[in-house]
Symmetry: C2
């Protein structure tokens, strides 16, 4: 669990939670726990994605994948324990937050929706089934708005809910996060297509033959789509003015991510 959860990642989802919470005036340990809960759910999904029965990956975040390091049985149990701990953290944190507009169960409901068959798990199932055939852009977007987008949305919405954002504000934040998540996935495809394993921290071969945004649109086309999505994302933040500067900065980081050839390409060798 520790190996998978503390491997060097970008932590973009928990940062999204923290930035959104701050935007609505929520800070402190409970918000940090919410963000950690989201990251544990993400860590769980990475362990599962990498399993021999799934992508059969050898490298993740520049390290051997969890199942190679500890065995497949332990990796599967660790993944489930990470999901469990993620839920527990969100439940505990929700109780400590001084919520007035939402109940703790609302936060859990959003988390469950992001993980379930309309979220992460559904996206991964579609991805497994879709990898054998040629996908349209709409199909690829449908997969990744679940597989990546849903947890981005939950990350941002949980942050907003912790600050008692209004329903209308929550919708705008959700729309931002959905487009941000899809753009992030495209940037990730760009990194996989253009960077070495050392730069990306992942198997360079792993996505060969798999439907990706780059395979479908080419590098320039994928880059253009990511830009478009990020512009859409930023537009959702218009009603918030300067309050949304933190979220806009995350949008810029995502925009730069694919261009820099992945996190490992930076001179500082910052972890991915």
């Amino acid at each position: 669990m520790r190996y998978a959860a503390t491997s060097p990642g970008k932590r973009v989802r928990p940062v999204l939670t923290l930035a959104t919470a701050e935007m609505f005036g929520a800070t402190g340990d409970a918000v940090l726990d919410l963000a950690c809960g989201i990251e544990l759910v993400h860590a769980c999904s990475l362990v599962l994605d990498d399993l021999p029965a799934m992508d059969d990956a050898r490298l993740r975040r520049g390290r051997r994948t969890t199942h190679l390091e500890f065995g497949e049985d332990v990796a599967i149990l660790a993944a489930f324990a990470l999901l469990n701990r993620g839920y527990a953290l969100v439940a505990e944190a929700s109780r400590r937050l001084p919520l007035s507009r939402y109940h703790a169960e609302d936060l859990l409901h959003h988390l469950a929706a992001a993980i379930g068959s309309e979220g992460l798990i559904g996206g991964q199932a579609l991805d497994l089934r879709g990898s054998a055939k040629a996908l349209s852009l709409a199909e690829l977007e449908a997969i990744h708005s679940r597989k990546t987008g849903a947890l981005f949305v939950a990350a941002a919405e949980l942050g907003a809910m912790s600050g008692d954002a209004r329903r209308k504000e929550l919708e705008a934040i959700g729309s931002f996060a959905k487009n941000l998540g899809l753009a992030f996935q495209i940037e990730d495809d760009l990194v996989d297509a253009t960077a070495t394993s050392e730069q990306s921290g992942k198997d360079a071969q792993q996505d060969r033959g798999k439907a990706t945004f780059v395979a479908l649109l080419g590098i320039d086309g994928a880059r253009a789509l990511a830009d478009e999505l990020l512009t859409f994302a930023e537009a959702s933040l218009a009603p918030f003015g300067r309050r949304a500067d933190g979220l806009k900065a995350i949008g810029e980081l995502v925009r730069d991510y694919g261009r820099l050839g992945g996190p490992g390409a930076a001179a500082s060798r910052e972890p991915s």
Copy 2:
């Protein structure tokens, strides 16, 4: 998910939730959802236990295991989704219950504790690591009080909490469920050791060479231990008098389970 969750099982855990809830005056749809949430978590654990990387089982509840029927990738995702849905059900149900002594988060906390490293997942991890060596009775009990006992305890405690049981009452119910769970595991070992695959609905060969209560104590010794645990369990119910008749009846069912050679051995061919 449906295949794994609706396969013919004994439903002893959700029945335990319902009986305990009723004992404390809680009934209705929300209690039923709590019970279903517990059963989904259990279904998740069965899919995982049966995976090639774990017990590599072919038969469960008289059917092909989920990974044989749908592939290992789908089985892993289904298990993950069952856990998620279990959490979602418990969270939703907790909100609808007219709780006065507990918060919804208390119920989720008990559920998370039953699943995590001190519960189901920890027990399975110990079981995997322990299967290669000779275990003492204390070690075997430590494994199964987590692997089986913890979810029995949560099943009963969630039922009791839904009826606003006092802390002291909750402890007694927890003690009953812990001993009941361990006795149930021993009865299960007895069925595996004495029944055919058709009777037990499981691979007869699967536990060969594995540490079980029967391997350690023999059939008579295991039966005596199960009886002793059930007597302990029933003793925890003394303060409740006739109110605990439902729980006592569940104890009797568990006592009979191993003796009848498993559920498939009954003339009625009742599902296991």
